[in-house]
């Protein structure tokens, strides 16, 4: 058995590298679809402002995508470096799913990204739009496979177990469409869309505050507020369904989320409190009677299993899941409220005029990403102490790499990520701080030469 500190550090390393990584695909999944919509609207209507906003966000996309690629590369090797036993045991199942992600999604994105970013003057409008669409579709395919893999670890099925503890695929359909997968996929894709909507909305709000007549800023703000009013409530419903699914398949996770120790009819909803793992109770709990039962079982006197029903060594660490869940739900409710507020102002004809709405949206800029990270914390910490829920313990999954190795590499990641992603964050802020203008040009100009205009013909056009 590897020592506990090495396991903990390996977990911290995985959490750290994936925590940084996940924000970037979320950004690119949301932005790619947004860009596809903008380009489609531009092609359909011919209105300049759609192209301006497209080009504006294309630059942000380019920087975000580059960071996503490199941090994702790290992830594809994390399984082997720190989780070699997991790789050996679950590799026959997880590996092919990730293999499909690479073959179907990564190559597609990478292949057409060049055309999308730098190809406007080298290919026709139709082909360029096709490239944008393919990149957007690629990001969604990528989400499909990675979430299938993750969901299988949460709710495994469709496998047989060998005597030496390896998982062998028996039915791929069951492996991919495992019970939690549809819920997790929809919940995550919507989360990406909402995260980007609030960033786009905040950038629109910021530039509206400086120039209320900026058409591109108005468009960003308006589109984002439509997303907020339509999609945020949908997300609450999807999240509710996801929760019911979790209750069915991972009851210990729900108990940890709720901070519920006892099994009792008419389970109360604990609004706030601090679950105490040693004393097996939730301190300072503020409860609403019966509400937990109402939400989770949709009945007045229903009950959920409390944490005491599970042996201590099988319990997730409740304080983290408890609070992460409340952050996620709180932000989700705020997003929906902003959407309703904006819709109300829109009906009254003052969407762009309210400084308080602009300020609120600006303050909410990172809310989607924070909620998304909190949600992942809920589901991943809630899966502990297992990597494959109920089947393979985290302590049985790690590599035989000692504490110094994991610690040193973790330090390396922290330093490098702080430098690289710190700088990237500054660059993104700088790009978004620049007001959108009429006649925006994408990544092709503003830098000396991108690959646009490599051919002599294009070069001739450029010299005029």
């Amino acid at each position: 058995m590897p020592d506990a500190d090495a396991v903990l550090l390996a977990r911290v390393q995985f959490a750290f590298t994936i925590g940084f990584h996940i924000v970037l695909p979320a950004l690119t999944i949301g932005l790619a679809s947004y860009l596809a919509v903008l380009e489609a609207l531009w092609l359909a209507t011919g209105r300049q402002v759609y192209n301006d906003v497209f080009q504006y966000w294309l630059r942000v996309f380019a920087v975000g995508f580059g960071m996503g690629v490199v941090s994702g590369l790290v992830m594809s090797y994390q399984f082997g470096t720190n989780w070699a036993r997991f790789a050996d045991k679950a590799g026959p199942i997880i590996g092919p799913l990730l293999g499909y992600e690479v073959l179907m999604a990564f190559f597609l994105e990478a292949g057409f990204l060049g055309v999308m970013l730098f190809g406007r003057r080298r290919v026709g409008r139709g082909v360029h739009f096709a490239a944008t669409m393919l990149v957007a579709i690629g990001t969604l395919i990528s989400a499909f496979w990675i979430l299938a893999a993750n969901s299988w670890m949460q709710t495994p099925q469709g496998y047989t177990l060998t005597p030496d503890g390896r998982f062998l695929p028996a039915d791929w359909w069951q492996v991919i469409f495992n019970p939690s997968f549809p819920y997790r996929l929809v919940h995550m894709v919507i989360a990406c869309y909402l995260s980007v909507a609030f960033v786009v909305g905040a950038v629109g709000a910021w530039h509206l505050g400086r120039d209320a007549q900026n058409q591109a800023a108005r468009l960003m703000f308006s589109m984002a507020m439509w997303m907020a009013v339509v999609v945020a409530p949908i997300q609450l419903l999807v999240g509710d369904q996801h929760g019911l699914n979790t209750l069915e398949y991972q009851p210990a996770k729900i108990a940890a989320v709720e901070g519920a120790w006892e099994t009792q009819p008419g389970t109360p909803l604990i609004l706030f409190g601090m679950p105490n793992m040693q004393q097996e109770r939730t301190d300072w709990a503020v409860e609403i009677p019966h509400l937990g039962a109402l939400i989770l079982t949709h009945s007045w006197d229903g009950s959920i299993k409390g944490l005491k029903e599970f042996p201590p060594q099988d319990r997730p660490f409740s304080p983290v899941t408890f609070w992460a869940f409340r952050i996620m739900v709180g932000l989700g409710l705020l997003m929906a409220a902003i959407g309703v507020w904006a819709a109300w102002l829109r009906v009254r004809g003052g969407l762009y005029a309210s400084p308080w709405l602009r300020r609120a949206v600006l303050a909410m800029a990172p809310s989607g990403f924070i909620a998304l990270l909190a949600g992942w914390t809920v589901t991943e910490v809630g899966r502990q102490p297992f990597t494959v829920y109920g089947m393979l313990r985290t302590t049985e999954s790690v590599s035989p790499v000692g504490l110094p190795g994991v610690g040193a590499s973790l330090a390396g990641f922290v330093v490098v990520y702080a430098i690289v992603f710190g700088a990237g964050f500054v660059f993104l802020l700088r790009l978004m701080g620049r007001p959108p203008t009429v006649g925006e040009s994408g990544p092709e100009t503003g830098v000396p030469v991108r690959s646009a205009g490599i051919t002599p013909v294009a070069a001739l056009q450029d010299t005029h």
Binding site: G91, G95, V115, P400, S409
Partner: protein, 333 residues
């Protein structure tokens, strides 16, 4: 049979990576001698639209290994842990360098990201050589997990392999620039290519002579009968390509040098395959030992058979869209 097909596919993915990202990394390594901003812009722009697709082959190599040879994936990555982590961190700097160097607000910021791009490219190449050498010299495995020490992989042989890969990638980068650039930059690239080719050939000879000494099985494969029938054409072809390379270089061909540099890599890779086959982790683990169950292999093979030709098709298209010479300062008018 299935396992053999998969071994071939993974070998193909890794070869594709070495050939494609090889010149990208080489361009970064050559930042060491190309210091003018305009030249550096041209160099980076020549690979900017395609580097991401090139690096994806590395993800396929790693992901495919995880999917089809999970034991090898786990063992190799834990055994060569520091070299792998070093490569990944270096690739982080290299990858963001493409965008960040254009986004830096000041000249010094830009210089900083240029250095990160150069160092990232060089260290990534060096670490890939370390991984190659570490694999060739063998990995100690007990009970399906790595059983060696922390620095077992670090030997004279692995360091030599690291240097060889850096020189080899730099050669590819120089040949790429000969193809995609013109004027003084192209001329200088020819000079670099000449010097680097000499270095690379020398290192090929040294590594080739050293490898059979690592493992009796290797030398039996190379010098025993009937293996020698298979192995003897490799050095002859290397010499033939060398002749073609100098011919192309002296006649100022644009594309021949790159073709020859890549041919060298293919030949070395073939030699490597001859040494290793059918081992995936020397000295003991064969591809069949490491293989995932047939159902995993079949499931992914269906996708691979359909998708890899498609990928090659649209990757080719992307290269075609961005064909032709890259010029400096096109947007300064």
């Amino acid at each position: 049979m299935l396992t053999v097909i998969w071994a071939g596919l993974i070998a193909f993915a890794v070869l594709a990576y070495v050939l494609l990202d090889g010149f990208d990394l080489g361009v970064g390594i050559l930042f060491a001698v190309e210091r003018r901003e305009e030249d550096r812009d041209v160099m980076v722009n020549s690979v900017a639209p395609v580097w991401d697709g090139n690096e994806t082959w590395l993800i396929l190599g790693g992901g495919g290994l995880f999917a089809v040879f999970p034991l090898a994936y786990g063992v190799i990555l834990s055994a060569l842990y520091p070299a792998i982590i070093g490569m990944l961190l270096a690739l982080v700097f290299r990858g963001v360098g493409f965008e960040f160097r254009f986004r830096a607000a000041t000249a010094s910021g830009r210089l900083w990201w240029d250095r990160a791009f150069q160092a990232g490219s060089t260290i990534a190449a060096f670490c890939q050589g370390l991984v190659l050498g570490g694999l060739l010299q063998g990995i100690r495995v007990e009970d399906r997990v790595y059983a060696g020490g922390w620095w077992d992989w670090l030997t004279g042989f692995t360091v030599l392999c690291g240097i060889a890969v850096v020189i080899g990638y730099a050669l590819q980068g120089a040949c790429w620039l000969i193809w995609r650039c013109e004027g003084p930059l192209q001329q200088r690239a020819r000079q670099y290519a000449r010097a680097l080719a000499v270095g690379m050939l020398g290192l090929i000879v040294v590594v080739s002579l050293w490898t059979p000494m690592l493992e009796p099985a290797f030398s039996e494969r190379w010098f025993g009968w009937p293996g020698i029938l298979l192995t003897s054409p490799v050095p002859i072809l290397v010499a033939l390509v060398a002749w073609l390379f100098w011919h192309g270089l002296s006649r100022q061909h644009h594309f021949t040098p790159l073709l020859c540099a890549q041919a060298w890599f293919v030949l070395c890779y073939a030699g490597l395959g001859i040494s290793l086959w059918p081992l995936i982790v020397p000295p003991d683990i064969t591809i069949w030992d490491a293989a995932a169950p047939a159902s995993s292999q079949e499931f992914l093979l269906v996708g691979a058979v359909v998708l890899i030709p498609l990928i090659l098709g649209y990757t080719g298209y992307a290269y075609w869209v961005f064909r032709g010479k890259v010029r400096a300062g096109m947007h300064y008018h």
